[in-house]
Each structure stands twice: as structure tokens, then as C-alpha cells.
Symmetry: C2
Subunit: 327 residues, 2 copies
């Protein structure tokens, strides 16, 4: 890899001049510019970002903190972030935290050691360590966080409950997401409001994780506790699918005997039959907009909205019964 020195030599100018054309900053004569450009071409030179980063105390790298990349919600978010970041000249360092606070700390440290320009975080509490590094929180957002892209969980909870309430539910069970996950509570509150309004009774079923590995156990427990459930508002698509599978296996007809609605709209939720009705979260867009927001912060561009809220949307597939019109 050629260096700026070699370019300077070949072009017969100083490194300062080369640097100037590279960043087109300051004055540089037409003559010199041309010679430098030729030299750059000839040597296939491209600047070393490490040296730049050392000087600037700021790299072109952005840290991406994910709770669990195996959870299919996050790859999509990552893809969105990646697309945006790339268009803006940055790259992502991946931090897969596995819901482990120590790993998070570790990553934040690594990020700092690498002069990271900013952090995109879909895990809670990253704001503690970071001092002067821009941070945008994604998806799981606490109310005190300054920059964030998230969805309206309350509305999501309402939408799910509404869809259910419209379909003549007998025995409603609401699955409640882990307490640590911001948004779980909001969703629940939204759902409860609807059921209260409609005067529909419901049971709660608390889940303690969103991890794929824990589904079997959770589903078993679910059917033990609620053998007569006929309408389930699930905390996410993974659990919804898992419950559907178990139901079909037991010969319970979906949606006639058991109707269910998920949350997230993962790519797979439409690959089953009956297809899973669900509340679609724009995972890709969360990542994309979050990355844009972060880059604006990094570059001190004016930011209109510090907290972006994206809409969620009801997606109807076959796991819900026909809507019953009440007079």
C-alpha cells in the first residue's frame, strides 16, 4: 500500500500538498493538483484510515451493539444500519452482547480504544460509560435517552389487543415481555387499556427472555398454565410461532380453537401456514434512520428530531379469526 509520502515524491510536491488535495482543504494550484492526482492514480493510493484516525482522534467506525444477533429481529436492523452508514462513508464494528452487561462494558471499551465515531445501541444502559461519544439508542429505548429511534409500543399493544378484541375472544392470555426490556410495559399497558374498554377478561403470562433457546420451556409452561386459552397476544413472533406449532401438534385448530397474534413481523412469520398475524416493526428502518441520525450527530449537522418514533402496523394473516362486526 502506497503512502502519502510516495505520492508526494512521485508528484514532486510535499506531503502537505498531497494532503490538501486529498481533503480538498486550503489552496492548491491547478498544476500541483493535477500532478498529485496522476500520482495517486498511478500508485493506486488510498489513505490509511488508521493514521487519519490517530490524528483526528476520531475514526470512520461506528459501533453497533446488539442484544442477540441470532434473534431475527436484529439482523434486519443491522442491515438497515449498515446500508445507511455505508452510504455516509462509515463502517460498523459489531458488538453482540448476548444480554450480558459485562460484554457490553467490554465492547464499549473496545470501541473507545478504536476511536469510534459513534455508537448505535439496541441494548439498554450503554449511555453510562460513553462520555463524549455520540450515541443513538435503537428499538429498546428508555425514556431518558437523548437520541433514539423507536416505535410506539403503547400503540403496538393497543393494535394487537384491538385486533384480538374484534375477533370474539373467549379466553384471552397476554404474554408479557421481560421486565428489563423497555417497551414490554408499554405494550402491556396498551393492550390492557383496550381489553378494559371492551370489558374483556384476560390473563397474563410473564416471559423472562426473548431468546430463541428458551422457547421450548416457555411454551410448555404456557400450555400448562393456560390449557384453555383461545386467544393469545404474544410478546413476539418467535413465541407466537412456537405456541402455534405446539397447538397444531396437539391438534388444536388455528385460528378456530386458538387464535394468536405476534409482534415484530419477522421475515419468517409469513412462511408458515397459517401465516402469523402480527404487529410489524420496521426493523430495517429503525437501523437505517438510527444510523442517519447518528451520522448527523457525529458531523455536528443540525438534527431536527432527536427521538424518532416510527409507526407500527397490524399485519393480518391466517392466525386470527374473521373479524366480528358488532352492531
Amino acid at each position: 500500500m502506497a503512502t502519502i509520502k510516495e505520492v508526494a515524491k512521485l508528484a514532486g510536491v510535499s506531503v502537505a500538498t498531497v494532503s490538501r488535495v486529498l481533503n480538498d482543504s486550503g489552496y492548491v494550484g491547478a498544476e500541483s493538483r493535477k500532478k498529485v492526482e496522476q500520482a495517486i492514480e498511478e500508485l493506486e493510493f488510498y489513505p490509511n484510515e488508521v493514521a487519519r484516525s490517530l490524528f483526528q482522534k476520531k475514526s470512520k467506525l461506528i459501533g453497533l451493539l446488539l442484544p442477540d444477533i441470532a434473534n431475527p429481529f436484529f439482523p434486519l436492523l443491522a442491515k438497515g444500519a449498515e446500508d445507511a452508514v455505508n452510504q455516509l462513508g462509515y463502517s460498523l464494528i459489531l458488538g453482540n452482547v448476548q444480554d450480558d452487561v459485562e460484554k457490553e462494558e467490554e465492547y464499549l471499551k473496545i470501541f473507545e480504544q478504536n476511536n469510534i465515531a459513534g455508537v448505535l445501541s439496541a441494548v439498554q444502559g450503554s449511555s453510562k460509560r460513553l462520555k463524549n461519544i455520540p450515541l443513538v439508542n435503537l428499538d429498546r429505548v428508555e425514556s431518558f435517552e437523548q437520541y433514539a429511534v423507536h416505535t410506539n409500543d403503547y400503540q403496538g399493544g393497543m393494535l394487537a389487543a384491538q385486533a384480538m378484541a374484534d375477533r370474539d375472544p373467549k379466553q384471552v392470555v397476554i404474554m408479557v415481555g421481560p421486565k428489563e426490556v423497555p417497551g414490554s410495559f408499554e405494550r402491556l399497558a396498551g393492550s390492557i387499556q383496550i381489553f378494559k374498554e371492551r370489558d374483556i377478561a384476560y390473563h397474563l403470562f410473564q416471559t423472562t427472555s426473548f431468546r430463541l433457546e428458551d422457547t421450548d420451556e416457555t411454551v410448555e409452561l404456557f400450555f400448562k398454565e393456560h390449557p384453555n386459552a383461545d386467544s393469545v397476544v404474544a410478546s413476539n413472533d418467535v413465541y407466537a410461532l412456537a405456541i402455534m406449532r405446539e397447538a397444531v401438534k396437539r391438534g388444536i385448530n388455528i385460528p378456530d380453537e386458538l387464535q394468536i397474534i405476534g409482534y415484530d413481523d419477522m421475515p419468517f412469520s409469513r412462511l408458515t401456514y397459517p401465516g402469523l398475524s402480527t404487529i410489524a416493526q420496521p426493523a430495517y428502518e429503525i437501523g437505517y434512520k438510527g444510523a442517519q441520525l447518528l451520522c448527523n450527530c457525529i458531523e455536528n449537522k443540525p438534527v431536527k428530531t432527536k427521538r424518532i418514533q416510527l409507526p407500527v402496523e397490524l399485519v393480518l394473516r391466517e392466525s386470527l379469526r374473521e373479524k366480528v362486526e358488532h352492531e
Copy 2:
């Protein structure tokens, strides 16, 4: 963030000494060491990796090139890579290539600009640009590539066909993966060998991508071309699930009227009912072992096996009929 200079000052020694205790290289007196350690603690100092990288011309970053992170096979692979890499003191820069050659080139350049220590690549042809940077190919491996972790596609193709052949197939259709994807051919060859041996007729159905977005179209085409298929050897789980969904939707009983086997064993393949029988590829392990191999290359440690082949495994779920014992 404190620097080595400040540590040196506080400890009353030179930066050289601080550097020595940091890397414990060379001699350093007990007295000095202690003072330095105290200073480090007091200032909460940790070395700037960028400066290190500039000097060493080699960072602690590893590039990970993925064809499409939204394809659920790859997050698992990434997770494996991430786990291994992290244990060994490295971090990952994510490169999501979207099956686009230009983006790949672009990433390879960015990697170089960042003094990347090595590259893990699940896309084809990365070896061209890289000069002196260690490269380990993952999963989609060409025969000429030096370092690689992959599975035995031929065996996989055989296993799938065998499972099918054992189950009294009437109208067999083999879905053939994209020609550009190394392994597609091998799998096909493996399957064909079995069907030939058993004297079972089969049809071929060519697919042109592995992308999630293209399933609907492909499935439609599939049913148009092969309305009477009763046994499908699918090129991956996504297509298998998509075909299953369409079949169930059409009232075709799985597995009695249509049996099907997938390839990959994605996390979701067990969340449907009937569950998808499939050939399990150890995605996590491919990433994990690949990362270990790469780190060994990077650190010039002796490498026993340059090309690691991991076994695939038949996973039986409900999408295949009962095995028929022939006398």
C-alpha cells in the same frame, strides 16, 4: 482518555517503561512495575488501539464479509465468528455484501485502510484483492481457496436424497441452488448419485438465488412446473418452508401427499408444524472454527488443517413420511 505519557509522568518513569509493562516485554524492575500499575489503575488507562495499529501496521480488527445478513444462516455464522474472535482479543468489522461484487471490493478496500488483521469471508472471490492479509473462506468455498471452513456438500446432497429415497417417493423434484454458489453442484451430484443407485426418477428445478425476497415468485413457478411433485429435495430451508406453506394453503397434506426436506436447519425450521426435516449445517461452528483458524494464521501459529470440513447431519421432523423398510 488517559495516554501512556500521563501514566509515565504519574509513575515517574519513561513511556518506554510503561510500554514494557503494558506488553510485558523486556525487563522492568519490580519497583517500576508497581508504580506503573498503580498509575494505570489510578488513571483508568487503557491503550489506544489506533496508535498501536499504526505502528504495527496491523490492527485487532477482523473483517467479516457476508453475502446477506438477512438470510438467517449468516447471523448464526456471525455469532460463532464473533464469539471466537472476541475470546482471542479481536473485533469484527461487518461487511454485508448483498451479493454485489462492487460492494465487496469496496469493503476489502475499507478493510485494508483500517489495517485489518485478517478477513473471514462467506462470499466468493475475496481472495483476488487481498495481498498479504490472511483470509479464511467460510461455507461457500471454492476448491482453490487455501484456508477454509466448509461442509461436505456432496454428503449433504446424499443424505437428503437418501432420506427421501427411503420414504417411497413417487414424483421427485430436486431444487438446484444458484450456479454461482459453490456447493450447489456438489449437493446435486450427491443427490443424483443416490437416486441413480436406487433407480428413482427425478426432475430438476433450478433456482437463481437464495434471497428471501425471491421466494414467492419461485414457489409459484415451482408449483406451475411441478404440480404433481410428491417429494421435494429443497435447496435450502427458506424455499422448503415457502413450498410447505403454499402446499398447506392448497390443502395438500404434508407429508402424506407432499413430503419435503430442506437444507441448513435454520433456527425457524423447527418452529413450524409440521416441522421441517432438513440437513443441518453447523453455521455457528463454521463461524467459530473459521475465526479460530484465522487468528492462528494471523498470529503465525502452526495450523494443522488449512481446510476444515465439518459434518452435516440429517434432522428428521414431520415433513417426511415414515421410513419404508425394503426387504
